[in-house]
Symmetry: C2
Subunit: 137 residues, 2 copies
């Protein structure tokens, strides 16, 4: 079963109002929601585009993974999340092709979504996240 | 009229067979086509994912823009292309919000598709391309 869609494209930003001025006002994407996530130390804004979303991530501390990425690489695209219907099957096929996963078993978000990250050194420099979308695909 | 969808996510690669091993074999995306583009000095592979595509770009000379990007930044995500139904209207709204375009007027690909790039310094570090998809949206 091939993947379903690009679920979201995550973008690290250093200035959330400026980022929203571009993606929402200038480009015209609809704001789907915002979240202040203390656990991951980021402010998040989701913008809808077709079946996908652009996810803006603004670090709120200096020591998170996202903050370190921003300090090292500057603002820009951070990862792409691909939706699959069966995450265990997707991870098994990825592993069988010699590609390294960051998470050896699926992790679960607070909303119940299961996810895993593929190691960028195995993908040609792209951080790829998998999301399991139940009942789709 | 809001944008239609993510048309494609472009990824610069330094090893096309390794990139296809990940995106096609390991992740399971369907190969939509390949192109050897002498004019832009890149080998291209398109992989389908939902309504979008992942576009792999491999420089074939050392002096193209993509080759210089690869040498400076390493392989990884290069730009995201957003499909719009009216590129002049989209560009006017972008400009009215103080965002700088690289192309002041739409350019046209050999297949007739009109496009323009937004300057990454105006988007928070993301190179954004606009495509006009006629008859959609």
């Amino acid at each position: 079963m091939p993947p379903i869609k690009i679920d979201h494209l995550a973008v690290v930003v250093d200035d959330m109002p400026a980022a929203l001025n571009f993606w929402q006002q200038a480009l015209g994407l609809t704001l789907g929601g915002t979240e202040h996530n203390e656990h991951e130390a980021v402010d998040i804004a989701f913008l809808n585009v077709g079946e996908s979303r652009v996810e803006l991530l603004k670090p709120i501390t200096d020591d998170s993974g996202i903050a370190k990425y921003l300090a090292k690489r500057g603002p820009g695209m951070h990862h792409v999340c691909i939706a699959v219907s069966d995450i265990e099957a997707a991870m098994a096929t990825i592993r069988a092709n010699g590609v390294e996963l960051i998470n050896e078993t699926p992790r679960t978000r607070e909303d119940g979504t299961r996810y895993a990250f593929v190691h960028p050194k195995s993908t040609g420099g792209v951080m790829v996240e998998l999301y399991e979308l139940k009942g789709q695909g």
